[in-house]
Symmetry: C3
Subunit: 158 residues, 3 copies
C-alpha cells in the first residue's frame, strides 16, 4: 500500500494521496503529479513535469517522457495475448511472456478512459481522445480518437 | 485519504468504504450512496438520492442533479485539450485552463465505463449505455450508446 | 476496507495489497491473484488460478471459472437499466431489480478496459480485446474486439 521503498522519486513530486496509490519499482521524474488510485509497476518510467491522473494504470514496459498528460482511468498494456495460466494449466510466471514496450513521447496528452495497446509509440505533443483505444503508432502532433483510434487531425493545434 | 473536512454531506448519505474514497471540496445530497475507489473533486455537486458506483471520477465543473445513477468506472472531463505543462514547459496552474461545465439532469443513468466529454448536458431520465463516450448533449429520456455515443431510442421506456 | 470476514478464500490466493481492495461475500478459488483497487461483490464467484488485475469491478451475479485472465479496469454489469431510484423517487432496494447473471468460462481472457454487459456467456479460452464492450455471447476460442464487440477470429490461436 502506498509508495514502495524501491520507487525512485524526483524532486518536487506531488502525490497528495500516498496511501491510495500503489507504486513499486518505478521511476518518477521531477515535479510530476500523481493522483489517487494510480498503480505504477516496476520497470515503468515516468518523466518530469507529467500529470498522471486518478485511476490510471501504468505497467512494466511503459516509458512516459517529460511533460505528458495522462487522463483519468487510462490503461496501458504490455502483453498481446494475456493468459492466467500456461498451456499446462499452471499459473503463468514471468518466464511465460514477453513484455512489449510502449513509449509516450514528450508533451503528449492521453484523454481519460483511453486504452493503449502494447508496442505502440505515441508521438510528441499528440492528443489521444477520451475513451480511445490506441492500437498503432500515433504521429507527433496528431489528434486521434475512437475505437480503434483513427487520425482526426495532423496537428493538435496547441 | 477519505473524506476531507471541507466536503458538504447531506443527511443519510452512505459511504461504506470511507477510507477508500477521495472526496474534497464537493457537495453530496441527502441519501446519496457512494462506492469504493470514487474520487469527487472540489466544486462538483451531487444531488440527493443518487448512486455513485465504484471506480468513478467526478471532476470540478460537474453538476449531478437528484436521483442520478452513475455506473462503475465512469469518467467525467472538464478540459477539452488537457496538457501537463504550459507552452513554456512549466507545470500548468489553475490559471492556464478554463473549467468547462457538464450537467447531468434529474433521474438520468450513466452505464459503467462511460466517458463524458466536458460541456455536455445529459437530459432528465436519459440512459447512457455502458462504455459509451458522450461527446454532445443527450436529450431527455433518450437512450444513447457507442463511441461516440449515438441515439438508439427517444424514450428510455422506464 | 480490505477483505471482509465473509469472503471465502482458497489456498494460495495472492492479494498483495489487501488494504486497497474491497472484497465482500464473494468466493475466490485456489492460487488466484487479485490486484489493487479491485472490488468483488457478494455472490460473485472466482475460480482457481485466475488473475484479476487492478482496477476491475466484479459484481454480484458474475461467475468466473478457473484459469481466467481479467485485465485492468474491466467492468461487469448485472442490471440492464440501472436507476438510482424507483418510480416513486425513493431509493431503489434489492427488491427493485433482478440480478442478471454472467458467466466467463474456463481459460478465457478479457483485455484491459473491457466492459461486459449482463446476461452474456464468454466461452472457454475466448479472447476479448482491450476496450471492447461485450453485448452478446462470445463463442469458445473466439477473438472479439470493438464497441460493440465483434468477432475477429474463430480461434484465439493459443
Amino acid at each position: 500500500m502506498g509508495i514502495a521503498a524501491n520507487v525512485t522519486i524526483g524532486n518536487g513530486v506531488s502525490i497528495p494521496q500516498p496511501d491510495l496509490v500503489n507504486l513499486y519499482g518505478c521511476t518518477v521524474g521531477d515535479e510530476t503529479r500523481i493522483g489517487a488510485f494510480v498503480e505504477i509497476q516496476k520497470g515503468a518510467t515516468i518523466g518530469a513535469r507529467c500529470k498522471i491522473s486518478s485511476h490510471s494504470f501504468i505497467c512494466e514496459g511503459v516509458t512516459i517522457e517529460d511533460e505528458v498528460f495522462i487522463g483519468h482511468g487510462v490503461m496501458f498494456i504490455n502483453d498481446k495475448t494475456p493468459r492466467a495460466t500456461s498451456g499446462d494449466g499452471t499459473l503463468q510466471t514471468e518466464a511465460d511472456w514477453a513484455c512489449i514496450p510502449t513509449v509516450i513521447k514528450r508533451g503528449a496528452s492521453l484523454g481519460s478512459g483511453a486504452v493503449v495497446m502494447c508496442g505502440v509509440t505515441i508521438g510528441a505533443r499528440a492528443l489521444v481522445g477520451a475513451g480511445a483505444v490506441v492500437t498503432k503508432d500515433v504521429p507527433p502532433d496528431a489528434v486521434v480518437a475512437g475505437v480503434p483510434a483513427r487520425l482526426l487531425a495532423r496537428s493538435s493545434g496547441k
